[in-house]
């Protein structure tokens, strides 16, 4: 799927998530689709298109997060770069291995935010809120990563069916 389409689908997913969260009032089931998109880009895209798409997504993500500016994006970039290091050692397919990796990635994301906040604003009460929710947020985010990953994999297959057939044959 081309980068701009990935960007559009990602933004639509995040808008849908924010709308559903408001409609049902279930903030504890926040899937963090932004993290899911980062996870997908890191594992399934080449570095340049993946990084460029993520860079283009950071601004809308920050606006939709409506949090302390920059910290959430910093966590996503860290997760993206770290996942690039391990992408060769992770099983293909959106299954248990990737779920466990997604849990670790979500924890890394939260820890990056905490470290950045502690460095720049040690007295920020956001640190406590992030630490308090690190485990449940990681689990729900991992589910979100799998859902987003499967969705994008389907869209990729739909956009380039021939390429998929060739690869499957090998």
């Amino acid at each position: 799927m081309p980068g701009f389409l990935t960007w559009i689908v990602a933004v639509l997913l995040m808008l849908l998530e924010s709308t559903l969260l408001a409609a049902f009032g279930v903030e504890n089931l926040c899937l963090q689709t932004a993290l899911g998109v980062t996870f997908y880009l890191a594992l399934e895209r080449d570095f340049v298109p993946g990084a460029a798409t993520l860079a283009a997504l950071l601004l809308p993500i920050e606006w939709l997060v409506a949090g302390v500016p920059g910290y959430y994006a910093l966590g996503l970039v860290t997760v993206f770069l770290l996942l690039r290091l391990v992408r060769g050692s992770i099983q293909g397919g959106w299954s248990v291995a990737r779920f466990l990796l997604a849990v670790v990635a979500a924890m890394l994301h939260a820890i990056t935010m905490v470290v950045a906040l502690l460095v720049s604003d040690p007295s920020s009460p956001v640190v406590g809120a992030v630490l308090w929710q690190i485990l449940p947020a990681s689990l729900t985010a991992a589910v979100g990563c799998l859902l987003v990953g499967r969705l994008f994999a389907r869209l990729d297959a739909a956009m380039a069916p021939r390429q998929r057939g060739l690869l499957d044959g090998i």
């Binding site: 924010s18 559903l20 932004a34 570095f47 460029a52 606006w63 409506a66 949090g67 959430y72 994006a73």
Partner: protein, 277 residues
């Protein structure tokens, strides 16, 4: 130029990616110090707001349609009589929905009448933030009124939070339980003074009262209201009730937790206080 890009594109993209969060940090993601967003952000945010607003409408319609479908399924099994019952059920559900909306609106109107000293602007909740770490509502303003950051947001049950940013017809509202929220408050019974801070906990919307002195005898169930100091919230708006008090020896302040009077998971309409009318 092209060959330069081909040779160095990995480095360039990596640099841009790593630099972006720091640029966002330094520029407050495109907003100025007063919380007013830039032109690009305002345009995009308004477009997002329209999509979210449309999405909220679609979700509500789809929910009603699925409810109808389910009821229709049951009706098919039980022929005509069941169909009639289903129809009545549907009408009843709609009526209950209308009554609930009516009750909510009555409460809001009642609140508006009870506080006719305030210039209240109605707004509808259309979306939320997409992380579990913050508590932000996106609202759509139902009039042409011009809002500003830091304006208080309330419902009939009490304080919701305050406006963080305004993008055209839409505004981000930081809820009382967001870890960035600080509201000057007093205990209604003892008039003890403190600052209500959000905890940002996941399953509940608990807050804490900071800087409440050890000798201020606050107890469970005490009503916490806005003090009127600080220049943001008017006095005597209900924030919540004391849920838990923990007194610590040899410490200046006690640990008091407050359960907000507003159920933030069920808010649909809010009022923004623009000032005195």
């Amino acid at each position: 130029m092209y060959s330069f890009w081909q040779t160095h594109r990995r480095k360039i993209v990596a640099f841009v990616l790593v630099a972006m969060p720091f640029v966002l940090l330094a520029t407050s993601a495109g907003a100025d110090q007063a919380g007013h967003p830039g032109v690009g952000r305002r345009a995009t945010s308004t477009a997002f707001g329209w999509v979210q607003s449309g999405g909220a409408h679609v979700v509500a319609t789809a929910g009603a349609w699925l409810g109808d479908l389910f009821r229709g399924d049951v009706a098919a099994k039980n022929e005509e009589l069941e169909a009639r019952v289903a129809r009545l059920e549907e009408e009843k559900a709609r009526l209950i929905g209308v009554l609930q909306e009516n009750e909510r609106l009555r409460e809001l109107v009642g609140f508006k009448r009870a506080h006719d000293e305030f210039d209240l602007v109605p707004a509808r909740v259309v979306a939320r933030d997409i992380t579990p770490y913050f508590r932000v509502l996106k609202v759509r303003i139902s009039s042409d009124a011009k809002l500003e950051p830091r304006m208080p947001v309330v419902v009939a049950d009490g304080v919701v939070g305050q406006v963080a940013e305004v993008d055209g017809d839409f505004a981000d509202v930081i809820v009382v339980s967001d870890p960035r929220s600080h509201i000057d408050a007093i205990s209604q019974r003892t008039r003890a003074h403190g600052i209500v801070e959000g905890l940002g906990h996941e399953r509940d919307y608990l807050c804490r009262v900071a800087y409440l002195r050890e000798k201020d005898m606050v107890r469970q169930g005490d009503l916490i209201v806005t003090s009127g100091m600080g220049g943001v919230f008017p006095a005597d708006l209900v924030i919540g009730r004391v849920a838990d008090v923990e007194r610590r020896q040899r410490q200046l302040f006690q640990e008091v937790r407050v359960e907000p009077s507003v159920d933030f998971s069920r808010i649909e309409e809010v009022f923004v206080i623009r000032g005195k009318s």
